[in-house]
Symmetry: C2
Subunit: 347 residues, 2 copies
DNA sequence: ATGAAAGCGCTAACAA
DNA sequence: TTGTTAGCGCTTTCAT
């Protein structure tokens, strides 16, 4: 009987024992499909990321997975990478063009349109109890699919204002501010640069804004070349630096980048051009991926609690799954500057 | 009607159209639980890794995910990390002790014993069509769970000899041989070292064996200190090198490591001790993770086609799911040496 | 406290 | 070609 497993307290001890023994004997396993058919629950959560690869998403996923396991849920992953036409920006390391990415990843909710090639989690929609979806840049389709879904949804990264959708974001401002002020302590405002990822990327955008804000706070006027956009890739960082290192333009400069990869590219270009870091050029990355602490000189960077972001998303999602009436929450996790060799210490 | 969706060819065009319109109108979505209850299929595959974190597993997972999507399946991930008592060795980057890891990760098949804290995928067993499980070191429980499962199973990394279990492995021998011979071209046999990961780890073991074999092929007698085991971590590599760099013992030596992380640790120790790489010390890593090409000097390494391994696993699994009678296959993917700066070129 | 039966939404087999 | 029905294995309700 299912009573033994689900409500052990209302069944007599001896019956329970008898049943339990039979279960053991027969190697009985409840059929999860039948169970799901009745209860409408699977204890499986979907997580849709722009990409699955690299330190960034790997760490996020790890945090999400750990939290899910703690709450006794499972994770069904779905990366949008290579899904639709032109992948999204995200923090992809491959640095493949900056297409505005209409790429799917989540099917439309009931009532919405649905094509055969809807995208990653469309098919699995019906199997999961909820969905965590990361939206790193404007993506109308993904967005509408997310908010109009009948499933509990938590959105990562994008600004959300929907009564039934939870969101988890990173507070870029604090860390960015710390980083810029840190750089300003040894570099004049006119020598400070922000080398970002894709201009559409929400995080890059916010970081650039705070960068500009802090700089303007010093009374400085910002030149257009001080804030530039590209890709979240080593190659972009290297290319930008190689270009701008010429003529000693960057001598004595300070650079904040959109992520650690870009910073590493710049670091390598500097090394190849025999420019001393941090002596002649100071660099601060973003995210604090493992890379940052492993390269030499080690990379100063703004730490983003990636694992916590993943965990918070799962946490919010599970809460909502288990209590759908609960008001939506916005979680915002702090960032903070970590000073290492590339921006400060003498070696 | 379900006939329209499942066997469109046996239904008249106008009926099909009528039904399709109704489906659209009502926003109808087939219930996957009911569907699964009948068909016993979910198009979801479980993948159990020792850990989910770091370049190594990230890349493997990415390959698996890409292949799954191509075959129109979904991936349910389950890392064993922190599952049972003492995590397994695997290629975890955290370098937490080398416990022999009885850690669960997969529940026992029907008939087997099952405790409440069975591990990661136990609960989801009933939802997936098949299971890819990576076994990186002897683990009786995981092993028995895998082979005795009623589900289609493909084992990664471990040697398997079971008629119904497919396996995907890496052919460590070729790459290792290439690496050792490459090092032998500039370093005498007595100056060659293999600094491995955990001694129990299958890959490390095989690599050590081939290392020894090639060395013996030169007629040399191998000292015990030439082959050592530790963790798959930067810290272990650094510690070993820091220890052995003293007294110039490693001057003119060549080192092959169990993975890139260890190699990086050694590289850093060498740099901190002002030992020139590759001038005074040559280093070859293993895996060819992104790390290897990003550090300076760039790391020579034996490339392991991680993404292909993941893809091959999913491929084999899907084949078996869709044809359970098919004989089991063993896939073995080649490795090959990639020479970069740390073992060869002058900078 | 326990047995019996309805029904979740689908597919497959059987009628028409 | 199409309509009808049994039944997948569970949970839940209703009788007992």
């Amino acid at each position: 009987m299912s009573r033994v497993l689900n409500s052990p307290q209302i069944v007599s001890p001896e019956t329970a024992e008898r049943v339990r023994k039979a279960i053991e004997q027969l190697g009985y396993r409840p059929n999860l499909f039948a169970q799901g058919l009745m209860t409408r629950k699977s204890r499986v959560l979907g997580i849709a990321l722009p990409d699955i690869h690299g330190e960034f998403y790997s760490e996020l996923l790890r945090g999400a997975d750990a939290e899910a396991r703690k709450l006794r849920y499972h994770l069904l992953v779905g990366s949008e990478a290579r899904a639709g036409a032109g992948g999204g920006g995200g923090q992809s390391e491959t640095g493949n063009g900056g297409g505005h990415g209409t790429g799917g990843g989540v099917g439309a909710g009931p009532g919405g349109p649905s094509t055969a090639e809807e995208g990653s989690l469309a098919h699995a929609f019906g199997l999961v109890d909820g969905l965590a979806v990361m939206i790193t840049e404007p993506n109308e389709r993904l967005w509408r699919a997310a908010v109009s879904s009948s499933l509990p949804v938590v959105v990562l990264d994008a600004e959300v204002d929907h009564p039934s959708v939870d969101s988890v974001m990173v507070d870029n401002a604090v860390g960015t501010r710390e980083a810029v002020e840190h750089l300003l302590s040894s570099v004049p405002p006119g020598q400070l640069y922000f080398v970002g990822g894709p201009a559409e990327n929400y995080d890059t955008k916010r970081r650039a804004e705070t960068f500009a804000e802090v700089l303007r706070g010093t009374g400085a006027v910002i030149r257009p070349d001080q804030i530039v956009y590209g890709q979240y890739s080593v190659e972009w960082g290297y290319a930008w630096a190689a270009e701008n290192l010429r003529g000693g333009k960057l001598n004595g400069a300070g650079i904040l980048t959109g992520n650690d990869e870009i910073a590493l590219g710049i670091l390598q270009a500097a090394q190849d051009a025999d420019v001393e870091v941090p002596g002649q050029l100071k660099i601060v990355g973003f995210d604090d991926t493992r890379l940052a602490s492993l390269v030499r000189p080690s990379l100063s960077t703004v730490r983003v609690p990636l694992a916590e972001v993943g965990a918070a998303a799962i946490d919010a999602l599970v809460r909502r799954v288990e209590d759908p009436t609960r008001p939506s929450t916005k979680t915002r996790l702090a960032t903070n500057l970590i000073v290492r060799e590339s921006s400060g210490w003498a070696r």
